[in-house]
């Protein structure tokens, strides 16, 4: 999985490319989120437009960090999740835990 992080208006925009699943992909994203939290960055937009599939490991990672970051007054918001990612999050009942946006801009602006 490719992970690209850029900062926009005090918001970390994390662009993911590839399946988010157990193994190197989930391990890399965990490291990215730990580093963000370590730096005090708790406003995160996760762009999932190029993530065709998220497995239970990836879902577990997202909801765990969502809880941790919310405890610190921040949030993880999802931008452009793929159709199957949305279906999967809905199947396990966690879709409504996330705010979802059509693009990065609106997700970033929602933190203002």
């Amino acid at each position: 999985m490719d992970i690209n992080v850029r900062k926009r208006s005090q918001v970390q925009v994390v662009q993911l490319r590839g399946h988010l699943r157990m193994g190197p992909a989930v391990d890399s994203l965990r490291q990215t989120l730990e580093e963000a939290m370590g730096n005090g960055d708790t406003r995160i937009v996760m762009n999932l437009s190029e993530v065709p599939m998220i497995d239970s490991s990836g879902i577990g990672l997202l909801v765990r960090f969502l809880a941790l970051i919310k405890q610190r007054g921040g949030n993880i918001k999802l931008a452009q999740p793929s159709k199957f990612a949305v279906q999967t999050l809905r199947l396990v009942g966690v879709l409504n835990l996330f705010e979802i946006f059509d693009n990065d801009d609106s997700a970033v602006e929602s933190f203002a």
């Binding site: 399946h19 490991s57 909801v63 765990r64 396990v92 009942g93």
Partner: protein
């Protein structure tokens, strides 16, 4: 290993598409899942159905690696894929572990479980596939997609 696969209705007419053994290492899962997806793509299985099968296999292999083999790469997980003449697909994942009772799993959609970082794999498999059976001592799962 028995040749008979539970579920479906055409066991005697199944064609083998793939038979892989992989070391119980989480990094080995992706290659098996991707090869299954590629095989199904060549059979013109629609993308939505391929994604659903791929995710179910991903979860079954992850369970086999983590729970069946304790992440011990000296152990092996076997994954077989077969098709029936009517287009139904069955995937069988077998690990050498003691097995488990799938009926005792908690509901991941309960409010107290929503933020849990685990416990969704078997639930997802059951939602994504049309028929799911745990065989032998609970260390083999057969998953049918119609």
């Amino acid at each position: 290993m028995p040749n008979e696969i539970s579920g479906g209705s055409e066991n005697s007419e199944l064609s083998e598409l793939l038979d892989r053994s992989m070391p119980a290492n989480s990094e080995a899962i992706a290659a098996v899942v991707d090869s299954i997806s590629e095989t199904l793509g060549k059979l013109d299985v629609p993308e939505q159905k391929r994604l659903e099968i791929a995710l179910a296999v991903q979860e079954a292999l992850a369970n086999a690696v983590v729970h069946g083999c304790g992440n011990d790469p000296s152990k092996y997980v076997r994954c077989r894929v077969k098709s029936a003449p009517n287009g139904r697909i069955v995937i069988v994942v077998t690990d050498p572990g003691p097995g488990f009772k799938a009926d005792g799993l908690s509901d991941p959609k309960k409010s107290e479980n929503l933020y849990s970082d685990h416990g969704r794999g078997v639930y997802l498999i059951r939602q994504l596939m049309d028929e799911v059976h745990f065989e032998r001592r609970g260390n083999e799962i057969s998953m049918w997609k119609y």
